[in-house]
Each structure stands twice: as C-alpha cells, then as structure tokens.
Symmetry: C2
DNA sequence: TCAAAAGTGTTATGATTACACCCATGA
DNA sequence: TCATGGGTGTAATCATAACACTTTTGA
C-alpha cells in the first residue's frame, strides 16, 4: 500500500510504502489545572467526518512500530522527547467498518508546557479533553482509551513516570494532585510528602514557587540519574 | 493471502483468507516438578528448519486476534480452557528475515495435568523446556519470551492467575513453590501460609495429599466465585 | 526413630494512617 | 487578620520478616 507523507527535510509530499491493514493509534495524556487530559483529533474526511478520535497513522515498511508511533507524535505535536509506550494490539474483526484493520495502541505522557499543536492542525482539528468529559470516540477508540487509563494507573504506581506529565520543576502538592487524579483517590498531604521524600528520588532545588498568594513551596525536580543509581542498588519504585 | 487450515468439524483441509503480514506467537507456560516450563515447537520446514521457536500462526480475516490465539492453542494442545492474555505487538522491521511481518505476542498458563500434545505433533516437533534451559529461539522469539516472563511476574502479583498452572487441588507448599519459581525469590513457609489464608480466597477441602512419605498436607482449591464476591466487596488481590 | 514436610506461635521492625498543629505569605 | 497552602510531629494500627517450636507420617 502506498500512502503520501510529508517529508521532514524537504517539506514535500513523498510516497512511502506502508504496512497494509495495520495502523497505530495513540492516547496522548497531558496534565493541567489538576486534571488529566487527552488530545483528540477531529476526522476531516471519510465516513467519520466531524467525529473525534485518537490520533493515528500508518506504519512504514521500513520502520519499527515504535518509530512509527514516535513519528506520528512528532508530526502532530512537535515534541520529540515524550514518554511513549505500547499498550497492545486491538483487533476485533468489526472494529473498523470498511475493512479488516488491526491497530496497535500506544500511550504518551507529555509536558503540556512544552506542547504546541503543529501548523496544519488548527483548534478545530485537535484539542485537549478532560478525561471525564470525553466525547464519544470513533471505532473502538473508547476501548483503547479505557485500556490506556488502566495501564497508566498501573504504571504510575510501579515506575516514576508521572513526572513526564509535570513541568520540569514542580512542588510536592502538584505531584500529589497528579497521583490523586490518575489513581482517582484522596491522599494525605503530610504522609505523601514523607513517603515520596523518603525514596530520595527527588532533587530539591534552591528555588521556590513564585506568584502564589500563600507561602511559596519548595520546587523539586526528578533526576533520572539518581533513579538509575538507586535502581542499581536494588531500589524498586513502588507507590 | 490464502492459507490452508484443518477444519475442526470435517477434519478436511480448507482454504481461508488470513491477515497479511501479521502473525501470532504464543508463550505457553506450564509448571511441573517445581519448575516453570515453556512449550516450544521445532520448525519442520523453511529457512529455520530444525530450530526451536514459539508456536504461532495466522489470523483469519473473520476472527478476532484473541480468537485466533485460542484457536492456535487448541490446535496444538487440545485444551480449551486456558488462561490466555495478549502481551503486545512486536514489530522490528528486520525481525523476520524474509519479509516485513508484525507479530502479536500472547502468553498462556496451562495445567500440565490436562495437557496432551495433539496428534500430528510428535515429541520431536514439540516439547517442554525449563525456562532456564531454553535453546536459542528463532527470529525475535527470545525477546517475546523475555517480555512474557516479565509480564507473568507482574500479573501473578496482582491477580490470582497462578492457579492456572497448578492442578485443581493443590497444597500450600505447591502454591508457594510456584510463587518462588515465578518470582525467583525464597519465601518463608509460615508467613506465606498466613498471608495467603488471610485473604480467604482459597477453599479448604476435606481431603489430604496421598502417597507422600511425610505428614499429608491439606488440599485447597481456588474458587473463582469466592474471588468474584471478594472483589465486589472491594478486595484487591496483591502479593 | 528419623527425615521431611505440616502447621502454630511469638516477637521485632517498619510502613501506613489519621490527625493535630505551627509557619509563611499575599490579598 | 484571614485564607491558603507549606511543612513538622506523633501515636495507633497493621503488615512483614525472622525464626523457634510442635505435630504427623511413611520409610
């Protein structure tokens, strides 16, 4: 199957051979105002015109599926250092009405501060939705989203991936609210502080919050180097 | 793409349309003599003749990928009530040397007591290997196996799936040894007993072990009904 | 009577929870 | 001075780990 692509270098349309009957769909998570959000795109053509769905695309014959997912994300958001992980393949025979197509689901965690919708996508094409205010999604994208949320909940408790949704520098309260939102629980502030600080995973900065109308909180950042060293010593992140 | 299949009803060869460039490969786990094992098949033809790999197959155009995996397992082992779960899709462009093929990995947990290699598969075609005595596997099957083990370790701590590898009736020591083998840890017998019994997940039988040269242990069985009821009450299995 | 595993009891330690309380800061 | 969140302290409770010990059974 031959599809058109925009070449990254020249900006021209080029033709590439892509895998037949296999697509990629990606749940892109963001976090803002204490709420978890998902980036949806509106289909501009075809039978589902006007409806919202997950951003997706084809896999080139010469690239790995992970690369295809990265490329897709970059084409859409202009960001390249995102956390990206495969969910699984979704393949009910009737999931796509026109043909038998299997899709491979991914989920991404992005820092919304870095995010920019790329030229070519306008506000009416793509926008963020709070996860409890999602519209109906096309095909089986609702199922894919549901699975991605389950996976995110699991992952966030077993590996320090939540930071990918926060700004570079964050307060402990922001971190706690992220966990509360993702896991859908209420947490105790003092206990959360101690639990997280005891892991010695966070690097405390000599810097405080600015522009808040209350005592400014200390800022922290997650340092992958520290995590790596702790892991080598047998540390196992668990929340 | 048209491939031959053995029809379940008539036993005759029939032709079915299958998905192109997508396969299924399955890691089948068994447990015997305190050891975790995997069922491998020897390729009888093609470029990898004589080498060992995971059992795999094609997906019919009309069936879901889960159904395809179930069918594959039944064709190979004659068992139909196995625990089966998708891992993810594996799709490095060079994973299969002759063509670009993406495979969807599955893993299954079977009770070896129920297991029987189906006619057509002889001992030289298919056999069990202890997981630390695996031969080199074809293509990326080694990677798929490694991922499946990671997944199994994860799963067995978060859901009561280990029972699928044990006989219907088992002792607490057998269960403990299963956990020791899967998680690759040493456990304390008294503590393991208490921890598991406290969950009230197991149904104690009025029956004891037979033919052992020491005090016979009480037999237990896992009751999915009990688990369901506990879950509804908010219970969350965790080991 | 001995080995091997079944099964019970006990204690120390550490994690988790719940909640009271003081501190700093801008409106 | 008040509201808002930052941040510390503490006691009760619960889970886990370590290990000593008694019991049962066939060889």
């Amino acid at each position: 199957m031959i599809k058109d692509f925009i070449d990254e270098e020249s900006g021209e349309k080029v033709k590439h051979a892509v895998m037949n009957a296999i697509t990629i769909d990606c749940v892109i998570f963001g976090f803002e105002g204490g709420k978890l959000e998902v980036l949806l795109v509106q289909h501009g053509q075809g039978i589902s015109k006007g409806e919202w769905g997950l951003p997706g695309g084809w896999i080139k014959k010469t690239e790995s599926i992970d690369s295809a997912a990265h490329r897709l994300l970059q084409e859409l958001t202009d960001i390249d250092d995102v956390y990206l992980e495969q969910l699984k393949a979704f393949g009910r025979p009737d999931r796509y009405p026109l043909d038998r197509v299997i899709t491979i689901g991914y989920y991404a965690l992005v820092k919304k501060e870095d995010y920019n919708v790329k030229a070519g996508f306008t506000a009416s094409d793509a926008r963020w939705y709070k996860i409890n205010e999602l519209p109906d999604l096309i095909y089986d994208h609702g199922e894919i989203f549901k699975f991605s949320l389950k996976q995110l909940r699991q992952k966030v408790r077993q590996a320090p991936v939540g930071f990918n949704l926060l700004p570079e520098k964050f307060t402990l309260l922001q971190l706690m609210q992220l966990y509360e939102e993702i896991l859908n629980v209420e947490l105790d502030k003092p206990n959360f502080r101690r639990k997280f600080l005891k892991m010695k995973l966070l690097k405390g900065l000599d810097e405080k919050q600015k522009g808040v109308s209350h005592r400014a909180a200390k800022l922290y950042k997650f340092d992958p180097e520290i995590y790596k060293k702790l892991t080598e010593k047998g540390f196992n992140f668990e929340f």
